[in-house]
Assembly symmetry: C2
């Protein structure tokens, strides 16, 4: 059986009680977490629960155009006031370069030159967090009243370390 | 105190035990969930736990260039084999149009014509899921062996409904 089919069976069981039924679409704590898709990350490590925050996740926890899009909608349509960028140690994005990865895709697929054009691999996680904060700070559509802070989560210790932009 | 400061205090408490310490960076169930940033969504409703899956989230659960980027990294660098797209009822993306939202940003900021150029608002959530599946299916870099399935999560009942592409 596929994992997708297992998910459907588990969802049938979940829906018998649906304990998350009474949540509001507006995040209770008015905060957005921008972080990596990595399987080891959880809002549990931040004392957050379902209903508290908007969560944006992609490979690396990068402030891409898509993240800016989502943040603008979060703030202007759903009232969030704090943006928190979290990258983490031992990230997969530290293990390759954009050039290597693109070459691998082109070789495997037999197709060159399609988008995405950037993969956002990086070599220094603290610098990477500072770069993401800078993108937020300099974007003309990001409200200057919003709190913008950045962290590295250490997967070994479970601790967040603040990175000053 | 800001929510960000509350998160730091909660994280200090979490790190004393760090129960997620022994997870692998490779998702145990080799699955990626592509879904919305909405605060009411949780992997709990699918019987998944931390460590099982890569999670990609943006406004709407849209297959953008950034999501394709992340999926390629997930599959080729970290071994995932199933992609699951989940949109949901009562989504904020059903409540505005791209044109209205852009006009609001331009008016509020006094700055026109910057990126992002699309906001991906939609009017029909089932059609939106089919469109996202189609983007995955037609992308030359997405391995044809990967399982691609799409669902709408009903926030009232907690149930996933499969949308056939």
């Amino acid at each position: 059986m596929s994992v997708t089919d297992e998910i459907l069976i588990a969802n049938e069981a979940y829906a018998r009680n649906h304990e998350l039924k009474h949540l509001s679409p507006r995040p209770r704590k008015k905060v957005v977490i921008i972080t990596c898709m990595d399987t080891r990350l959880s809002i549990r490590t931040m004392g957050l629960d379902v209903g508290d925050a908007h969560i944006l996740r992609n490979a690396g926890g990068i402030v891409t155009d898509d993240v800016i899009r989502s943040l603008l909608i979060s703030h202007y349509q759903l009232g969030t006031e704090e943006f928190v960028v979290i990258n983490h140690t031992d990230c997969g994005m530290l293990t390759f370069t954009d050039e290597e990865f693109r070459a691998k895709l082109e070789r495997t697929s037999g197709t060159a030159s399609v988008s995405p054009t950037h993969f956002h691999a990086f070599k220094d996680v603290e610098k990477n967090v500072r770069d993401q904060l800078q993108k937020l700070r300099s974007h003309p559509w990001v409200d200057k009243e919003i709190s913008l802070r950045g962290f590295v989560y250490d997967v070994k210790t479970g601790r967040l370390k603040e990175i000053l932009g």
